[in-house]
């Protein structure tokens, strides 16, 4: 059965390592924070200027001066730090953040990503996404395998304006975990009960399938 959004977030949470600093994008990526494996010390950075984000505030305890990059009210944990936007992107550009998780509209087999603009539609802007994908050593895309029209989002070549070039290392969808290497999507895991055939059918880009593809354990 295909994963829901929480399933995708749970699977990505398995990629976290102790001591990492992690930047989570808006949407599914934000959910990853809820599933940090027991015993791991992971700090979440938000590019608007905070390190050490905690859970959402209790009702009545919201502080307009304390938000994340999605403009949501948040809290911080002991040992947090606030800083300006230049310092925040110094952390990102300078590779001090070990993992970036973000959503995408398209990913290509060489790791290009498009997630900020659809020609002819209202352009909202790239926010911090271009800085994040240009700099992060380790980028995981969290997205659905297909778009609303049923077309694959894992492509030979992106059709939309790019956010970054040859930067995505891993994609986690409701169907599969795929690693991008040498110009192809390498199928690492499939969602419980999802067939290799379904993943093949829904992946337009070059797909490398090993003899045996294990199911995810969540």
């Amino acid at each position: 059965m295909a994963l829901d959004k929480i399933g995708i977030a749970k699977r990505i949470a398995q990629e976290l390592r102790d001591g990492w600093y992690v930047n989570l994008g808006i949407g599914i990526p934000t959910l990853v924070a809820n599933y940090v494996p027991e015993g791991l010390n992971v700090e979440f950075q938000s590019e608007n200027g905070v390190l050490g984000m905690g859970p959402f505030p209790f009702e009545g305890e919201e502080d307009a001066d304390l938000i994340n990059a999605g403009k949501q009210t948040i809290t911080v944990k002991p040992g947090a730090a606030f800083f300006d936007s230049a310092t925040s992107f110094a952390m990102i550009r300078g590779k001090h953040v070990q993992l970036t998780v973000l959503g995408a509209m398209e990913v290509s087999e060489n790791g290009d990503i498009a997630n900020w603009k659809i020609p002819g539609k209202m352009v909202k802007g790239m926010g911090g996404a271009m800085d994040l994908v240009a700099s992060a050593e380790n980028i995981i895309v969290a997205m659905m395998h297909s778009n609303k029209a049923g077309e694959s989002k894992l492509l030979k070549t992106c059709t939309l304006p790019l956010t970054g070039v040859a930067c995505v290392k891993k994609v986690v969808t409701e169907l599969a975990v795929l690693e991008i290497q040498h110009g192809a999507f390498h199928l690492l895991e499939r969602a419980p009960g999802v067939s290799v055939e379904e993943i093949m059918a829904k992946t337009e880009g070059t797909l490398v399938i090993p003899p045996s593809v294990p199911e995810m354990t969540l």
């Binding site: 938000s46 590019e47 608007n48 200027g49 905070v50 859970p55 959402f56 505030p57 209790f58 009702e59 305890e61 919201e62 502080d63 307009a64 001066d65 304390l66 938000i67 994340n68 990059a69 999605g70 403009k71 949501q72 009210t73 948040i74 911080v76 606030f82 800083f83 300006d84 936007s85 230049a86 925040s88 992107f89 990102i92 550009r93 290009d112 209202m122 352009v123 909202k124 802007g125 790239m126 926010g127 911090g128 996404a129 271009m130 800085d131 240009a134 700099s135 304006p161 790019l162 956010t163 970054g164 070039v165 040859a166």
Partner: protein, 231 residues
């Protein structure tokens, strides 16, 4: 030489049609809300506004957009504003979209006398069009130039009579770099205190960057995305 302004009118005096303004804030967090309302009152037009976002329909820079006072926005994300969308699609409003980290660094560079720097952000995208590309450490980077403004308007939590500023939590965001990059920098503060009140070890924006300071009358501090958990 007194940086403390007797009124908001004095604080914003000299802002004229066609000028370039930097406006601090991220979303509605840490914006100089009193000064923005005053700009509406002043009716200055044809402004170029450098601000990470463009406010919402009825608050922040959205108020200036409603009155069609803005000719050009230089921002990284402008997704929360209908007036913006209408004016952009109709061609009334010019928009220059810049990656957020490049925007922050370009403001800092403008304030720091660094005319240009290389960054990897945007390489291979339309942001890089027309820009010099150079390889450093095996990786392509693009050359980005500094931004400055006729006036920078920033918002701080506390400020003293010397212009020293401190910000609260994530309301800091773009304010410190913009304070550096304004030819004239105006600081709107929640609390104006005498020199010597703030600990000199913990000043976010040293007063040298601030030419005028005033205490804002009302801080609504609207929340865009109120998210809470249950007890």
């Amino acid at each position: 030489m007194n940086k403390v302004q007797p009124s908001i009118e004095n604080a914003l005096a000299g802002i004229k049609d066609g000028m370039t303004l930097m406006i601090g804030g991220f979303g509605l967090c840490g914006i100089p809300e009193n000064a923005i309302k005053e700009l509406v009152k002043m009716g200055v037009r044809e402004l170029t506004c450098i601000s990470n976002n463009a406010g919402v329909d009825n608050y922040g820079l959205g108020l200036l957009l409603q009155q069609q006072q803005i000719k050009k926005m230089i921002s990284s994300y402008v997704g929360e504003n209908d007036a913006f969308e209408r004016q952009m699609l109709s061609g009334e409003l010019e928009v220059d979209l810049i990656p957020q980290g490049s925007l922050a660094e370009r403001c800092r560079a403008g304030g720091a006398g660094i005319p240009a720097f290389f960054t990897p952000a945007g390489f291979g995208t339309e942001v890089a069009e027309g820009k010099e590309v150079r390889i450093f450490n095996g990786k392509p980077h693009i050359l980005e130039e500094a931004l400055t403004a006729d006036f920078a308007i920033v918002k701080a939590w506390k400020g003293d009579t010397e212009g020293n500023l401190v910000y609260k939590a994530t309301a800091m965001n773009f304010n410190p770099m913009m304070a550096m990059a304004g030819k004239i920098t105006i600081a709107e503060v929640e609390e104006l205190v005498p020199a010597g009140t703030l600990d000199p070890n913990f000043i976010h924006t040293p007063g040298i960057f601030v030419q005028r300071i005033f205490q804002g009358a009302v801080f609504e501090k609207r929340i865009e995305q109120r998210t809470v958990r249950t007890r």
